[in-house]
């Protein structure tokens, strides 16, 4: 069963600034993103104005403010992947999904993110769909990969 927002918040001591980031992380793990309600409630609990909570959350790449897609695609843009053409991979994914990096598709099926390095430099270029790695991919593979996920919905 999904933990409620209040349950998660109450795991942390009230008024402790130190627990702000872990708390936001927990909420994002549970709900996939941070909505306004979560930020306002966290602010009240930590005793920090919501402007601060929002400002802090937007500083970090990890936090999202819109729901992730059912399939979340991460394209690695690390150095090694770049040398193996990952920019073209990213553009191709964008083209196939008709999405820009950082966006979620309107039907909520796909979201796309470019990340700085996933540490799979030996298998470059790589992309990752919901935690599953696709290694040493080439441009023509992409439509195929995405069609596979499209067909599973």
């Amino acid at each position: 069963m999904q933990a409620s927002l209040d349950d998660i918040i109450n795991r942390y001591k009230a008024g402790s600034r130190e627990s702000l980031l872990p708390l936001l992380q927990d909420i994002q793990i549970e709900f996939g993103y941070l909505n306004e309600e979560a930020i306002l409630k966290v602010g009240q609990h930590i005793k920090l104005p919501s402007s601060k909570v929002y400002g802090i959350a937007t500083f970090y790449d990890q936090f999202r403010f819109v729901q992730k897609g059912k399939f979340h695609i991460k394209v690695c843009r690390g150095t090694s992947c770049h040398m193996h053409g990952s920019l073209n991979i990213l553009r191709e994914v964008e083209r196939v999904l008709n999405l820009k990096e950082g966006q979620t598709s309107r039907d909520g099926r796909f979201s796309l993110e470019a990340v700085s390095c996933m540490g799979a430099c030996g298998s470059a270029p790589v992309l990752n769909v919901n935690g599953e790695f696709k290694t040493a991919i080439a441009i023509p593979d992409i439509a195929q990969i995405i069609n596979f996920y499209k067909s599973t919905i």
Partner: protein, 643 residues
């Protein structure tokens, strides 16, 4: 007596007698020196998992179950041969441990069939481990005599990929935590600080500050509370040393942390791990739980009066948080923006208290130094830099992975002897070391040696230890642009030179790698003007930025301009990219002899740059061409060619 009770009472206790036969034998079993059952080791670091180690693991278990073979399956970390993952080692009772590469789940069955019949599947064999107690396999090379391992000197990676990172028993059986207990039982904090100072260990995170000095400063600052922070916020693209250490040997890091905290008088240590490192986080969490169970952290550790606590923090993703004051802000729950220094963290750091911040590799060296003494450590490396350095080799190297070499090793040896040179028989062009704010060195600089000043003098930095090999297909302008893009995205935005300067440099580089059609005279002027500013701008960014990220941000550009000036000039003046990477600078032409006039390219051209009648050869109007290459891709007759 269970394993834990045995280890606590017979090994870790103050009066333990480690020479007792019963003890030595149990320890040998625990660290798999002797085995009663076959053991299958599967390389299951992140790199292994990406390559399919999970499937291999399942296949191995299924095989053992189906064949009803009793064996132990152990998931180990990364031995450093990322491009050979998934790696599987097998150790039969009495026989030497033998290692296989690229063991995907499909070949598990045949491989295990062979090995359990005492046959060696030579296609996949990598080598065998040297151990006097074991019988060697015939015609199988020794692992540490392979070129990849031969020049390495492994201190922090010694057990990575070999020992079982899930097991604290394994670590203790290899002598683990005994150094820590020796320290808290027999040494004062001051003494440990002095030992580390004598060892001349310098920070492995980039700055190269003497670790001992930092410790002594914090040790001597009077305060009711001090902190140790382990910086595992490794987020340079192409660097994964810290992750491999944590995944392969988490207890080594934790022992280093425990010793350091005691030395400086900190009762709390924070480990700041990047959120993306989910497995590393899991391993650390598990290892800390084990430490609690063994009473190695908590209140009054082994009756020594020492209290110690470790808190694990997930870094929510910002490259700048590798900078120590930004990291402090992040732990405190603030925006990870650097603070001005002084005050230095060793005086006024986390929550305003004296704080030592060391990176993973630095801390992982500590148990070795305290175990073997500063003089032994001092024998490794060169005078300006003692000990070893771990590098993550990636890019176009034959073997990508992790290597640990003594300081003073030539970069050429690392790339050509250890990593086997450039793959696919391509020519070596450059090596990028030191992460995004490092520099690109050309072939002529390969005789530089690994160290601090030796590299600084040439405008390079050791950084955290990424080493990216580039071949002839790499465009150096594109690489400089790539790093500037990374840095401008990762700049925290606090200070002007870094925030605005990196963006402008990136734009200038974009301009010279792009070929706008219908460029007006003004834009051309702007492009040339921009180039004239590059050196000036770089100098100001370096001189005035608030933190290390900004101060080193121009490095990739400056080094590329220094060593690959021709390539820059080609881009600027001839509008040409010799590597063919800068797409928009490509010029295509149609070979009239091969073109049959199928109009495929003409239809697809987005800028109407192709003209021609059906069944007649076509032509490309250069002024209109945007270099997208679609015609090149769609032509079935190889008539479209690159100029």
């Amino acid at each position: 007596m269970d394993e834990k009770q045995f280890l606590i009472e017979k090994v870790l206790a103050a009066k333990a007698d480690l020479n007792q036969r019963e003890v030595t034998e149990t320890l040998a079993l625990l660290r798999h020196d002797t085995v009663n059952l076959p053991v299958v080791y599967i390389g299951s670091g992140t790199c292994g998992k990406v390559a399919g180690a999970n499937e291999t693991f399942k296949a191995v278990n299924k095989y053992l179950e189906e064949k009803n073979i009793k064996a132990e399956v152990v998931q180990v970390g990364c031995i450093g041969l990322c491009s050979y993952e998934p790696l599987v080692d097998i150790q039969l009772p009495g026989k030497a441990r033998i290692s296989f590469r690229n063991v995907t789940h499909e070949i598990v069955e045949t491989l295990l069939d062979d090995i359990f019949n005492s046959e060696v599947p030579f296609d996949h064999v990598l080598g065998q481990f040297n151990n006097k107690r074991h019988n060697k396999w015939d015609n199988v090379p020794l692992i540490n005599e392979l070129p990849f391992f031969k020049l390495q000197h492994r201190i922090v990676l010694a057990n990575c990929g070999i020992s079982n990172p899930d097991s604290i028993s394994d670590y203790i059986a290899r002598g683990g935590y005994q150094t820590y207990l020796k320290c808290i039982r027999n040494y004062t904090g001051e003494k440990i600080c002095n030992i580390v100072d004598q060892s001349a260990l310098r920070g492995r995170g980039g700055g190269g500050y003497r670790t001992g000095e930092k410790w002594i400063m914090a040790h001597n600052t009077v305060s009711d509370q001090k902190y140790l922070v382990c910086n595992a916020a490794e987020s340079d693209p192409g660097a994964f040393m810290d992750r491999a250490i944590i995944e392969g040997d988490p207890h080594l890091l934790l022992e280093g942390i425990a010793i350091t905290a005691y030395a400086i008088g900190a009762t709390k240590a924070y480990i700041y791990v990047m959120d993306e490192y989910s497995q590393a986080y899991f391993m650390l969490n598990q290892a800390i739980t084990q430490l609690k169970e063994y009473g190695l952290i908590g209140y009054n550790v082994f009756d020594s009066g020492v209290d110690f606590k470790i808190i694990l923090v997930k870094g929510p993703g910002a490259f700048v948080c590798g900078e120590e004051t930004a990291l402090i802000n992040s732990i405190e729950g603030k925006r990870g923006m650097p603070r001005p220094k002084p005050p230095y963290p060793a005086i006024e750091g986390l929550f305003g208290k004296p704080t030592v911040i060391n990176n993973v590799e630095t801390l992982a060296n500590i148990p070795f130094i305290l175990r073997h003494g500063p003089l032994h450590f001092n024998e490794i490396g060169i005078p300006e830099a003692r000990g070893t350095k771990v590098f993550a080799i990636s890019g176009k190297a034959m073997i990508t992975g992790l290597v640990e070499v003594p300081m003073g090793t030539k970069i050429r040896d690392i790339i050509f002897k250890i990593a086997g040179g450039v793959k696919d028989d391509k020519d070596f062009k450059a090596v990028q070391i030191g992460g995004p704010s490092g520099s690109c060195l050309p072939a002529s600089q390969l005789d530089l040696t690994v160290g601090y000043e030796s590299l600084w003098n040439e405008g390079a930095i050791i950084g955290s230890g990424g080493m990216i090999v580039m071949d002839e297909d790499t465009c150096m302008v594109d690489i400089a642009k790539f790093f500037m893009n990374f840095l401008q995205k990762e700049s925290c935005g606090k200070c002007i030179p870094c925030r605005e300067g990196t963006r402008r440099i990136h734009e200038i580089l974009e301009n010279i790698t792009r070929r706008p059609t219908g460029e007006s005279g003004f834009e051309v002027l702007e492009r040339f003007k921009g180039i004239m500013q590059l050196a000036d701008l770089s100098e100001v960014i370096r001189d005035t930025s608030l933190c290390g990220l900004g101060q080193t941000a121009p490095n990739p550009l400056l080094s590329a301009m220094k060593w690959f000036r021709e390539e820059f000039e080609e881009h600027v003046f001839d509008r040409k990219c010799r590597a063919g990477v800068c797409k928009e600078l490509r010029l295509f032409y149609i070979d009239v002899d091969k073109c049959i006039g199928c109009v495929a390219c003409l239809r697809k051209c987005p800028s109407n740059a192709i003209v021609g009648q059906p069944r007649q050869p076509h032509f490309i109007i250069e002024e209109k061409c945007i270099g997208c290459g679609i015609c090149f891709d769609v032509c079935k007759f190889v008539a479209v060619k690159l100029k």
